[in-house]
Structure formats: C-alpha cells, structure tokens
Symmetry: C2
Subunit: 282 residues, 2 copies
C-alpha cells in the first residue's frame, strides 16, 4: 500500500504517542518531532507506510536513547492476553469449526492495542468481534490451502496479539515458522515477546531481520527470505504486514482488522472491519 498524505500527520502522532508511552520529556520529544519533520520532504508517496514508520522509531531511538518505548504497554498486553487464553481455548474446543473460531480469535487479538486503556473491556470487545462477519471473507480458501500446506510462515504483529496467534497455531497443527520484528518498533512483537507469549513451544521463532513495523522484503534477512520463498502458505497478521505486502504475490492470507481509515479505504471496506483476504500466486 502506498503512503497517503494523511499518513504524514499520523507519523507525528505515532512519534508523540511513543514518546509519551516511554515517558520521554517534552524537550526531547520536541527534538524527535523536529528530526521527523526534516524527513518529511524525503518521504516518497510511492513507498509503503512502514518504510517511514521504521524511520520514526529509528529517530526516536537515536534522539532519546530509548530502545523499547512500549515495553510496559507490551508486557501489560501480554498479561491481559494470558488471562483470556483459557476461555478462548475453550471457545475453540467447543466450536463446530475450531479453525474458523481460532482465525477469528487471532484477528480479534489485534484490538489489544487498546487494552492499556483501563476503561477498555477487552473480553467484551473480543466477544463482539467474534460475532461479526468479515467484510472480506476468504476463509474457505484459507482452509483449503492450509490443508495441503506442509510449511507455514506466520508473520506476527503486536505483542499480546501473539498469545492469540498461539491459539491459532495450536489449532492448525502445522509446522510453523513464526516471524517477528528484529527490534522493538511500536508495540510489535520481538523474539523476546514471542518467547514470553509461549510461541517457542508451538513454532520456530525467527526475526524478520528488519526493524520496520511491517514486512518490507528488501529490508529482511536472507534467512527470513528463504522461509518466505519456501513457505506453502504465509499468514500475515495486522495492518503493518498488509501495508508492506499488499502488492506482493502470494500465497499470502492477510488476517487483520482495518483500524486505520486509509487501510480500510485501500481495501474498500469500513473502518473497523475484519478481513480474511487471500492473495494467491498469479
């Protein structure tokens, strides 16, 4: 997906939110915003948003010295997700189509972003999402394709959501490579977060080799790219991975909530919609 002009104010908001999450003071935050501003004329609108997102966090690290601005936020999200894990597992076990329920749970986990708000009732929100019909629903194609797949590459999104991913991986019963970001960026999962979430017991965790909040292939490691090319099916979670891979060839299945209005527009859906989108080899 290309960068829209509307992404530009949003990059500044992300830098601000991250600085606040990390407790960075106003003077240092202003220096981060000043550095980001210098970057604006260099942002090509035909690049994907995670290309610039990557720079936002690089600047934040360089100016503030903070490596993991969302550490507390991520730890709290994983804790919340652990609390829900048993009841969600029961829900899958009781389902007429456990895979379908697990796919929906994995997508619903995407709203854990908001769980640091004390007023946010995660369990009720997830229940609501599980009742909703996906606006793009290629579940049957996913199920069919997965059945014959020997190798699955699973592209992770946020820390916390990782615990919901574990449920889907357990339900699939396949050999899974679980790929995470190389460095902390936004609240995206790193190897450390994936291990904390227990993914090491159900998958082989690897780094994408990149610090972008998405999967920008030209920035990924050789090791990651080898898995990417060999995988029989790629499960791409969340917005950042969609933004960076939406123009790539499959076999990719995008599982996400279209939380951003521009991503929703790009997909031709409403903001907040649930997406199970097949991108098969042409």
């Amino acid at each position: 997906m290309k960068t829209y002009l509307d992404c530009i104010p949003c990059f500044f908001q992300q830098a601000l939110l991250s600085s606040k999450a990390a407790g960075i003071d106003d003077d240092v935050t202003k220096r981060i915003l000043d550095r980001l501003a210098m970057l604006v004329p260099e942002i090509p609108l035909n690049s994907t948003p995670p290309e610039t997102g990557r720079m936002v966090y690089k600047i934040l690290r360089e100016v503030s010295g903070v490596e993991n601005p969302f550490k507390e936020w991520k730890d709290a999200s994983m804790q919340k997700a652990f609390e829900l894990y048993p009841s969600l597992k029961e829900k899958v076990a009781a389902s007429a189509d456990p895979l379908k329920t697990a796919v929906h749970i994995a997508i619903a986990g995407n709203i854990i972003d908001f769980a640091t708000n004390p007023d946010f009732e995660l369990e009720r929100e997830i229940e609501g999402i599980l009742q909703r019909k996906p606006a793009i629903n290629h579940y049957q194609a996913f199920k069919d394709h997965l059945k014959d797949a020997a190798s699955v590459l699973y592209l992770a999104d946020n820390a916390g959501e990782t615990v919901f991913d574990k449920i889907l991986i357990e339900t699939m019963g396949k050999t899974v490579i679980y790929a995470v970001r190389d460095k902390p960026v936004i609240n995206d999962a790193t190897v450390e977060d994936a291990v904390t979430s227990g993914l090491d017991t159900v998958a082989t965790i690897i780094s994408s080799g990149s610090d972008a909040p998405g999967t920008i292939l030209k920035r990924c490691s050789e090791e990651f790219l080898a898995h990417y090319k060999e995988a029989d099916i790629i499960i791409s979670k969340g917005q950042g991975n969609f933004e960076s891979l939406s123009a790539e060839q499959g076999p990719i299945f995008f599982l996400l909530m279209a939380k951003c209005p521009l991503i929703a527009k790009d997909l031709g859906v409403e903001q907040g919609d649930i997406i199970i989108k097949s991108q098969m080899e042409s």
Copy 2:
C-alpha cells in the same frame, strides 16, 4: 495558551484538510506539507497555536496560490445559519432571559464547522447545546458588566457562526465593533463574510489587521488595538481567540465550545463543554 506538542500533528492535519477543502492536488499538497515540516523546528512551544496556524495558511497561499481555501465551506455554513435564523430569533423572543438564550445561541453557532457534513443535523445539535449547562459559567458577571458598558468589541470566529453572533448583538442592543480576520484563514470570518452575514446592519465591522486564526495583539493593526484598549467589554468568540488571548488582561468574556482536547485540558473542562469565562482586569 501555549503550543502543546500535540498541536504539531494537528497543524499538518489542518494543512491537509484545507488543501482538500480547496481541491488542491496531491503533489501541491505534499509541497505544502514539506514547507510546513521545515517550520517545525522553528515552532516555539511558548508561542500560542494561532501563531503557527497563521504560518500554515501563509504557506498554503504561497505554495498553491489559493487565497480562500474554505470559500465554499464558508458560504454553505452561512446559508445553513440563515435558514435557522428565524427560529432562533423566536427562541430568544420567547425566553425568560433573552440575553442568556442569545449567548448560548452564539456559542452553539460554533459547531457550524461540522455542518458541511451532510449527515450533520445542525438544528438538532444546536437544540442539544442549548439544553446543556456551561462547564464554566460566568454569565451573571457578563450580564452585569454588559449593562454598564458603553462600547463593546466583539471578536468574531467562523463564517456561519457570524449569523448567530448577529442574534446576540441584536439582543444586547449595544454599540458594537465587530472584528474579523484580515485575510481568509481556516473558515474564520473576514469582512466580506461578516457583510454577507448581515453584521453591517447591527455593528461596525473592522479587520483585526492580522491573518492569524486568533487575535495575536502584536500582529493586529493600530486601528484594532485602539478599539481593543478603549472597549468597556470584549466578547471573544471561539477557540482561536481564546488561545491567543487567554494570558491577556480583561475585560474579556470568552464564549466558546472546547472542541479541541488540549483547550479543554487547559480550561480544566471536558472536550465539547460550553464555556462562558470572565477574564477581568487584575
């Protein structure tokens, strides 16, 4: 009011919104955002937001050649306001305290910003605002002070809201100087808009001499400042005038809705609250 770090993404959003309102194409809009970005390191956080707001529209004018980006929006707002004028006049006439009702109507007019949205039901929204209690309510002080005032300086806000101001001015029955922006900035009223709204029949319209979306005294004309100093009472409408005059001495009465979360925070109220705030000479 000082500039908060959160104002910085908002300046970019304003530039974007204005460019869209004016139908400026993406390439030119990107050049506007690039120029605005160059300004970010120069924004002093101890300046008021309208100081930078002024620069946003100066850049927009210089880069795009568009002088009045919100012209259609403003014309549509005034039209909507004219349609409501008779019923609002009846409401004032039927009120036990016509001045109070007229003050509330003048504040409610501030939501006309949203009236360009076809789904926005202006009449119902205004009705709702008229039922609400101001979060800061110095109405009695305003009434008392107005009674003895021979000269009133009225600082205008948006075009459209101007028609609601006319109702308050008619109800006050005082000699009023009605001050507007010198050039189009956001959807703020200019002399032309004030005349279109019929203010010339109830007040003497003057320009502030400044192109800021607020009243930055050091940027105002000598003529304006003479009226400012001589006025027995100053009625300041809207957020921009509050942002630029909140640290000045009175006798000012701020009438506004705190639509911006930072203005609400600065005032110690909730976003969306109605404010009648006295700022008397110390």
